[in-house]
């Protein structure tokens, strides 16, 4: 791609604005200096040896330099005549005025909002151009966007952030990220701004459209698709019309419906709490452990709130054949075929009539945090043993939720952010969770849990990483396969320090071509182009990386024999073995 095509048309705007703004002050300065100097070289000075010597051009400029700028340097080239003194009054005032005008123009230029914008854009574009590693573009730095930025930073992935709200960008600049996260306050609908954000660069991996406005998200997706047909796109969308439009943009468009995602996640938690625990553990949530999987009682669940999200929760629970009683103050929003709908606010009386005493659990899932908390308190008063899942919308209410004593607290923005994060840093995790949610998920979940507990440990903070079998990222393994050798998963996961032991990690998902295998067997052999998702300790990740880069270690792990490395020793060994075979 040509350099000019990469530059946005606005990148030279700063120079242009400066030139236009400073044109008049500069012309004025030149005129005043020139006129004064002409005067100086014409006006006669004190006569020396009979000649009325005026100042030379050099002396005139020297005098003006320290008077017009009000520096007040004391040396004068010669004693002045009265005519020269009069001219010096004129040139001094004119020069000082011209300078004041010029300095004033510079200051007002620095305060000009357009100029400041242009400067911010230029700085931003320069920061983006300096990014060498793969990065993602986040449009919209709201709840989900900021949680995602934090997660990406922890995973060491650089992101570029665009938001139309100045406060959000200021907030971004105050965070301490491990990687650079350039941010710009701008309207992401403008294609030039997306180009500034690095959309056309080859190391741009994905564009995330997470603004609150569906139309803007769609516009961003279309722009991204047109300007960079290969980039991956992840967009937020809650309406079916938009989802259809987005899906027509082709593959590599991932639509994340926050309500749908949340509903399915919540229902999966009720159906199988292990999924919830695994999810929390994989993202290193504070206090998450594989050992305490909550026991969820079977029976009827009370569902408070039947808006867009409530509907999704109900659908997902129906799929799992879990009975529900719904409480919602707005009856007309619900279809009439719902027999278990109570049209009322979830007060203590309504909760009692909904059967909270007998219910297995309650979901406080409205979009109002205060209301949700009051439901928690009321339900707890009526039935102290009830299992409570509560929805939290605003992060600032965390302290209240910690006090309320619900077993499970879920933030929709966090659920969406994690889903997107997994999509970006570990795309192979999706098939694992799909399998876990499906019918035969229970024995598989047992298997996943026991493997992770045994090999990684239930309290260690896990790390997810994917290896690609190719010449760049795993040269030793790729070369071995290329030469016709075969390497099993169990072999590459041996510990180079003690070959009989395995590294503290578990291969979760393996993809060879179109075939995806969840929890692959350790006898499974690897081929070029395969991808494997691992979960394990940081140490295991480093050691495995070392193995996959060092052919000697890799061959030692597979065969158990340390090979000679130098030509001399290899020749010596080969001679020895051929002598042996001759003797036989």
């Amino acid at each position: 791609m040509a350099r000019a095509a990469l530059d946005s048309p606005d990148s030279h705007r700063v120079t242009f604005i400066v030139l236009r703004y400073m044109r008049r002050p500069i012309l004025m300065l030149v005129f005043v200096y020139a006129a004064s100097m002409v005067g100086w070289v014409m006006i006669p000075g004190v006569s020396v040896n009979g000649a009325d010597q005026p100042l030379s051009f050099f002396h005139a400029f020297y005098f003006l330099t320290y008077t017009a700028t009000t520096t007040g340097f004391g040396e004068i080239p010669a004693v002045f005549s009265d005519a020269q003194r009069m001219w010096s009054i004129v040139s001094l005032y004119a020069g000082v005025l011209a300078w004041l005008y010029a300095v004033g123009s510079i200051i007002s230029l620095l305060q000009n909002p357009h100029f400041r914008n242009a400067m911010a854009q230029r700085r931003f574009a320069k920061l983006v151009a300096r990014i060498r590693e793969p990065f993602v573009i986040i449009c919209g730095f709201g709840n989900t966007g900021s949680l995602l930025a934090r997660g990406l930073s922890d995973a060491g992935v650089t992101a570029v952030v665009l938001d139309h709200d100045k406060d959000r960008i200021n907030a971004l600049q105050l965070r301490d990220y491990r990687v650079t996260m350039p941010g710009l306050c701008t309207n992401a609908r403008i294609p030039a701004r997306l180009i500034d954000a690095g959309l056309r660069r080859t190391n741009c991996r994905a564009v995330l459209a997470l603004t609150g406005d569906e139309e803007v998200n769609l516009k961003i997706a279309v722009t991204a698709r047109l300007l960079n047909p290969t980039v991956e796109m992840i967009t937020h969308s809650t309406s079916e019309a938009h989802e259809e439009a987005l899906a027509s943009l082709g593959k590599d468009v991932h639509i994340v419906d926050p309500f749908h995602t949340f509903g399915r996640y919540l229902a999966a938690t009720i159906g199988n709490p292990g999924i919830y625990v695994l999810n929390r553990w994989l993202v290193n949530e504070r206090g998450a452990s594989l050992d305490d999987v909550p026991e969820l009682p079977r029976g009827t669940w009370v569902l408070c709130g039947y808006g867009r999200m409530g509907r999704r929760i109900k659908e997902a629970l129906d799929e799992l054949a879990i009975d529900t009683v719904i409480i919602d103050p707005k009856g007309e929003s619900a279809p009439e075929e719902l027999p278990n709908l109570i049209v009322a606010r979830a007060s203590q009386a309504t909760l009692a009539s909904a059967g909270v005493h007998r219910a297995a659990g309650i979901v406080a899932g409205t979009d109002d945090d205060a209301y949700n908390l009051s439901i928690v308190l009321n339900a707890r008063a009526l039935n102290p043993d009830i299992f409570i899942i509560v929805r939290q919308d605003l992060h600032m209410n965390q302290i209240l939720y910690d006090q309320a004593g619900a077993q499970v607290i879920m933030q929709p923005s966090l659920v969406s952010a994690r889903r997107i994060l997994f999509e970006l840093i570990a795309p192979l995790l999706k098939p694992l969770f799909e399998r876990l949610r499906s019918g035969d998920g229970d024995p598989l979940l047992e298997h996943v849990f026991s493997e992770l507990r045994d090999k990684v440990g239930s309290r260690t903070s896990p790390r997810l990483w994917t290896i690609d079998v190719n010449a760049e990222s795993t040269p030793a393994l790729f070369a071995l396969i290329d030469e016709g050798g075969s390497a099993a998963l169990g072999d590459i996961l041996r510990d180079p320090v003690a070959r009989e032991q395995q590294l503290a990690c578990v291969p979760l998902v393996m993809r060879s071509g179109e075939r995806i295998e969840v929890m692959p067997d350790s006898r499974q052999t690897l081929a070029g182009g395969d991808q494997v998702l691992f979960c394990g300790s940081d140490q295991a990740c480093l050691t495995l990386d070392g193995t996959l880069h060092n052919e000697y270690t890799l061959r030692y792990l597979i065969t158990g024999v340390e090979e000679a490395r130098g030509w001399v020793m290899r020749w010596f060994n080969e001679r020895g073995s051929s002598n042996e075979s001759r003797a036989r």
Partner: protein, 127 residues
């Protein structure tokens, strides 16, 4: 136990110790630096280089580089010595000996690095 490690370790340490033995003494006194020891140092160093040829690992490359540095300096010293003995009319003077011992000291540092790298690699593997 790995035979290659024993052989290579043996020659690397031998090169280092011989090199030290040659360098010790007054830097400009030809009586303190014997030509037979110098010959042994050069031969053992070249053997070390030969043993490392063909190793494609990172550490192997580093060891090859350090032993090549030692070879280069020792061969330069050998040329100076030969020139002084056979070509120059002045013979082996103290000034020439300073050049030879300086170059051999450089080779000594390269050999120290080699042995250090071997130790580090062995300690890192812990098996």
């Amino acid at each position: 136990m790995n035979v290659e490690k024993v052989v290579f370790g043996f020659f690397a340490v031998l090169a280092l110790t011989l090199n030290l033995g040659f360098v010790i003494g007054d830097v400009d006194n030809p009586a303190h630096h014997h030509v037979v020891i110098f010959f042994l140092v050069v031969v053992v160093n070249i053997i070390v280089t030969g043993l490392k040829l063909g190793d494609r690992s990172q550490i192997g490359a580093l060891l090859l580089a350090t032993s090549l540095v030692a070879d280069l300096e020792l061969i330069a010293a050998a040329i100076v010595w030969t020139f002084a003995e056979h070509v120059s009319t002045a013979g082996l003077t103290g000034d020439t000996m300073v050049i030879i011992v300086s170059l051999a000291s450089g080779a000594l540092v390269a050999n120290v690095v080699s042995v250090g790298v071997i130790l580090a690699e062995t300690l890192m593997l812990r098996r």
